[in-house]
Amino acid sequence: MKNNWWKILSVILLIYVIIAGFLIDVPALPILHETIRNLFFHVTMWFAMMIIMLSSMVSSIKFLSKFKMSADVWAVESANTGMFFGTLGLLTGMLWANYTWGDWWVNDPKLNGAAATMLIYLAYFVLRGSMDDEEKKAKISAIYNIFAFTMLIVFLVILPRMTDSLHPGSGGNPGFSTYDIDDNMRLVFYPAIIGWTLMGVWILQIRVRTRFLRMKINANV
């Protein structure tokens, strides 16, 4: 239990987010109406995704400095978990877009940037799959992973700010201000980011432990 407090914290935060996310008063905005509540669910998927991808890059750097295979396992499973959150982010975003912008996909820098990011990480898995030698695979994919995260920042953070976009959080240096949220919503939004991220780390940890078990079994046979 001592080492699992953050799992409990994640569950408590998310229970709070689910209850408060549906029930607090939100600002009445044109077009968005009640869908502004998606902020607690759709937007936080991307925040969790970016934090987990950052951890993937950090693991890759760790691998390159110490050449420990365990760091490579953390890197690849972080990327897996990040892709899971990214996929959820894309799907929820498409549903939201259909009911606010009128289409499942609009040609927008933020949306295309998100799609490009997902493809870059898919290429990471293709790259890994193309090599048999475990050490070589780990080294080359670790280097690629650092570039992948750099491109994630470019596509999700920098490029959308250079142009105008339908998507909030683009154009100039908006911070959180253009999400049209009030202080009431921040009380749910920030715990939601922490809660979903911790949930992602939990799933990530389970995947990593499974892989370590597999490695130990393979080493014994």
């Binding site: 239990m1 699992n4 799992k7 409990i8 569950v11 998310l14 229970i15 689910i18 209850i19 549906f22 029930l23 939990w202 799933i203 389970i206 432990r209 499974t210 078990l213 130990k216 079994i217 014994n220």
Partner: protein, 78 residues
């Protein structure tokens, strides 16, 4: 194995939830449409459904977590 604090916490949470639902149903029989679960366009029902699904996911995640812990112990013992 199921005597941990977390298990007890989940059990009490579920029992508490059932208690509230039972209470809500009692008040339905007494005064009809005025209970909390039917306010605000019945949004509380959706919140309840989502909570049940979420807690189900968490329970499943905890069970998977424990299974792996058990395997880790077994392999360590070998």
């Amino acid at each position: 194995m199921y005597k941990s604090g977390l298990y007890r916490f989940i059990c009490s949470a579920v029992l508490l939830l059932m208690h509230f639902i039972a209470e809500a149903q009692e008040s339905v029989n007494k005064i009809g449409m005025a209970d909390a679960m039917r306010e605000s366009g019945k949004i509380y029902v959706v919140v309840g459904v989502l909570l049940i699904i979420f807690l189900g996911f968490i329970a499943f995640l905890i069970m998977t977590d424990r299974k792996i812990s058990k395997l880790e112990k077994e392999i360590k013992a070998k």
